[in-house]
C-alpha cells in the first residue's frame, strides 16, 4: 500500500543532515512551507545549500539558519531584503561567508525543471552579454548567441500546498504552485506541508503535482503555517 503521510515536522525532515542541498518553494508567501522552514531552523543541520528564488523569506522565518552560519551556499534569483538596512544573509554574502550563485529567474526554474526531467543542460539566450553569463560556454542558434545552463538537483525539496492524498498527489491554491512542480521533480526527498490530507484520492484532473514526485506529506494546521 502506498501511504506517504508522516506525522509532524521532525518526521517530515528526517534524514536532512549537514551538507544537504535543500530546495524551498515560495514566491512572496505563496507556497512557502513555513512550518518546514521553521523545522529546518530548529534542527541542527549545517553546511546547507539553500536553493530558493529569494532568501529573505527564509531568514524571516528561520533567522538561526543565518545567525548560526548554517547556510554556506545558495542559489537564488533574489538575494535582497526589503526596506532599510542590510539583512544577515546580505552581510554574509558581502563578507564572502555565504557563496550565493545568482541566476536569472527563468533560468533558475528551468535548471531545476531540467534536473527533474533528466536533461543535464540546455542553451538559453537569457543572460548573454551580462556578467551572469561571464566565462560560460556560448553557442549560436539561428544566429542568436545562447549560454549553456546546467541542471540543478537537491537532496530535499520543501513545499507548501493546499491539499494532498495518501498517494502524494498534491493540489495547490492561488499562486502556490510557482517553483513547486519543478522542485518536487528535482529532489531525492520531496516533502509537502498541506492544511488538509484528503481521505479520498484527489480528482486526477485537479492534481498540480503527481505523487510520483512526492515522498512525504505532512498535515500542518493553518495557524502553524503562517
Amino acid at each position: 500500500m502506498i501511504d506517504k503521510r508522516v506525522s509532524g515536522v521532525a518526521a517530515a525532515l528526517a534524514g536532512l543532515e549537514t551538507g544537504a542541498r535543500v530546495m524551498v518553494n515560495g514566491f512572496g508567501g505563496a507556497g512557502l512551507p513555513i512550518a518546514l522552514v521553521k523545522g529546518l531552523g530548529a534542527g541542527g543541520a549545517g553546511g546547507l545549500t539553500i536553493i530558493a528564488n529569494t532568501l529573505r523569506m527564509i531568514e524571516s522565518h528561520a533567522p538561526e539558519l543565518f545567525t548560526e552560519r548554517r547556510v554556506t551556499g545558495a542559489i537564488a534569483s533574489a538575494a535582497r531584503s526589503r526596506g532599510e538596512g542590510t539583512a544577515i544573509f546580505e552581510q554574509q554574502i558581502f563578507d564572502g561567508a555565504l557563496a550565493c550563485e545568482l541566476v536569472p529567474q527563468g533560468s533558475f526554474v528551468e535548471r531545476i525543471r531540467a534536473g527533474g526531467a533528466g536533461i543535464p543542460a540546455f542553451y538559453t539566450p537569457t543572460g548573454v552579454g551580462t556578467e551572469l553569463a561571464e566565462g560560460r560556454e556560448l553557442r549560436e542558434f539561428d544566429g542568436r548567441p545562447c549560454v549553456l545552463e546546467t541542471a540543478i538537483r537537491a537532496d530535499f525539496a520543501l513545499l507548501r500546498a493546499d491539499r494532498a492524498d495518501r498517494w502524494g498527489n498534491v493540489a495547490c491554491a492561488g499562486s502556490q504552485l510557482n517553483f513547486a512542480h519543478a522542485m518536487a521533480s528535482a529532489a531525492t526527498v520531496t516533502v509537502v506541508e498541506v492544511h488538509e490530507i484528503s481521505a479520498e484520492a484527489l480528482p486526477p484532473h485537479g492534481i498540480d503535482i503527481p505523487g510520483i514526485f512526492v515522498q512525504r506529506i505532512v498535515e500542518i494546521p493553518r495557524e502553524d503555517s503562517a
Binding site: F27, G28, G29, A30, G31, N53, T54, S77, A78, A79, R80, S81, G85, T86, A87, F89, E90, I93, F94, L102, V103, P104, Q105, G106, S107, V109, E110, I112, R113, T124, P125, T126, G127, V128, G129, T130, E131, L132, D162, C172, A173, G174, S175, Q176, L177, N178, F179, A180, H181, A182, D208, A226
Partner: protein, 224 residues
Amino acid sequence: MTDRLSRRQIAWRAARDLADGAYVNLGLGMPVLVSDHAPVGREIMFHSENGIVGVGPVADAGAADPDLTDAGSRLVTLAPGAALVDSAEAFAMIRGGHVDVTLLGGFQVSAAGDLANWDSRSRVKGRLVGGAMDLAVGAKSVRVLMAHTTREGDARLVERCDLPLTALSAVDRVYTDLAVVDVTASGFLVREMIAGLDAAALRAVTAAPLEFADDVAILAPPVL
C-alpha cells in the same frame, strides 16, 4: 517648460500603447502602476512570472489571499479569463515569445538598446536579478519606464551603459518624465516631449545623440 511627469503620468503614457487583447508583463516599481491606467474598452491580460496570466487589481485588505501574489509579492485578485500555471510554464511563455509586451524599470538604456536595470552596485542591499533578463530577451516588445536623469542629474539615456547589463539590444521604446524615445537601428529617436522643452534642453540631459521625428508630439498626460 511644464513640470516633469509624475511616476503615474509616465505609467499613464505607457498604458496608451497597449493594444486590446495584448498579453503584458509589468516589472517591479513604476511599471506595476500601468495596470491602474489601462485605457477603457481595451482588455489587456497582465502576465506575472510567478504563474498568473490575468492578474486583476490588488486585493482589498479584508479579502486578500496570502497564497495569491503577483511577482512583486503584492496580494492580488484574478481577472476574468485568468489562468494559473507554474513558474517554468510562465517563463516558457516569456522566452517562447508569447508575451507581447514587457514594461520594465531601468537605470540606463544605451543607444543600441542595451538595458541596465538590476544591479545598482549597492553595498547596503544585496543583488536581485529576478526575471528581468528573461523578459528582456523573450518578450516581443521591451519598453522601459524611468526618470530621464538620476537624482544627481546624470543622464540615463547613454551611449554605453556603465552599470551591469540586463540584456543587449533589447529595448524598443523608453518613457521618461520628459519624453517618449524610440530605439532605432541608428540610435535614439524622440517621438514626444513635454510642452516648452526644446531639442537643445533635452540633449543637455541626455548622454547620447538624439534624432527627432518630423512630427514630434507634445507629451501631455492628465494630472495624476
